[in-house]
Amino acid sequence: MTPGDVVEILSGDHVGHLGVVLDLHPNGLVGVACGTGTAGRDDTHYVIRARERFGLRMGLPKDTYFYQSRGIAWAKPDQFKSTERTAPPDVVRELRKLHGLV
């Protein structure tokens, strides 16, 4: 698992959602930016449209919103399922910016 991988979240509050790996903690945990299909929250966010090229590349089933407030899911690697897809470089950069990884 490396930064930029698109994963399905298998546990915790975001179970079933797709996310993007942003960091691997030295303690063994993986930090994943969580996406959601829920639009309209009054919060800083980054959206990827399912039918645009980024969404198609990442295999998103619907428009996916990454909210700053939803934060990062930290968990062991086995709590994430690989989708065998990766986020384009621009998406990784935007998510890093959203979550203060500048």
Binding site: P3, H25, A73, P88, P89, R96, H99
Partner: protein, 268 residues
């Protein structure tokens, strides 16, 4: 601290410097040694696939996404590796090492067949790349730099590392723009062989703009690297990055980010 940068681009610079990329593919293929014919064929195949895909872009946003997706896609990476095979030499290996450990350089083909504004941008981008190439050639690499191998995995990894959490975001942004510019360069040169009526003017101009922007982005990274000399005339001080300061900022940001992780393993 050195950053991993888009060396996939540099992997084929040596080939393109001596024989402009697509012109070479169109005209030199029959003359190359047998061993290189497979590589030429591979480049040709991936080049055509890239062009087919990017020509379908419908507007500026779609084009930017298409270029970004192409940057670490199979066609660009496999094509770049094949070009590196063609251009395997001391210089090519040195350039690849530089991309892994410091900054890069590039090539200078023409844009024959392009319309005036696009052609002017491609020529401007070529000039910037020539400046970059000249500055990299003066760089004296440490021992071991020339023995690096270029394969698909290592190129792919380097592109991924470019936006990884250890690379300052501003460096990652310039590097990504540089890579997008190189894909755009590849495609716009191919379009120079397509009848004008089949290529929308906006697409040709946007691709050439991406190329020129990308060339300057890569030159800015080079100019910001202590061991590489680029004149202030080419890159003013205001456009250079303070890499040491950015590295420290990124390290601190990463520490803050990691502090949000649970202390006990198993949290979700």
């Amino acid at each position: 601290m050195a950053h991993a940068l888009p060396f996939s681009v540099l992997a084929f610079t040596n080939a393109t410097r001596s024989s402009p990329l697509l012109r070479a593919l169109h005209s030199v293929a029959l003359a190359v040694p047998l061993a290189n014919k497979t590589a030429f064929s591979t480049v040709r195949t991936h080049s055509e696939a890239l062009v087919r895909d990017i020509r379908t872009a419908t507007d500026d946003n779609d084009l930017r996404q298409a270029l970004d997706v192409a940057v670490d896609g199979d066609d660009f990476i496999k094509g770049a590796v094949a070009l590196a095979e063609i251009g395997r030499s001391r210089t090519a290996r040195l350039l690849v090492w530089l991309m892994r450990h410091t900054r890069g350089d590039a090539f200078a083909p023409g844009g024959r067949g392009l319309r005036p504004r696009a052609r002017a941008r491609v020529e401007a981008g070529n000039r910037l790349f020539a400046v970059a190439a000249a500055s990299v050639r003066k760089f004296s690499a440490p021992p071991g730099a020339e023995s690096i191998s270029v394969d698909e995995q290592i190129v792919r990894q380097a592109v991924r590392e470019l936006v990884g959490p250890t690379v300052p975001l501003s460096v990652a942004e310039l590097g990504t723009r540089g890579l997008r510019g190189l894909v755009a360069f590849w495609v716009v040169n191919e379009l120079a062989y397509v009848p004008v009526r089949e290529v929308p003017l906006w697409l040709e101009e946007a691709l050439s703009q991406h190329f020129e922007d990308g060339a300057y982005a890569l030159l800015r990274i080079l100019a910001s690297t202590p061991q590489i000399v680029v004149s202030e005339e080419e890159v003013p001080l205001a456009d250079r990055l303070d890499l040491e300061h950015l590295d420290e900022e990124t390290r601190q940001a990463r520490d803050r980010f990691r502090a949000t992780a649970p202390q006990t393993i198993g949290g979700g």
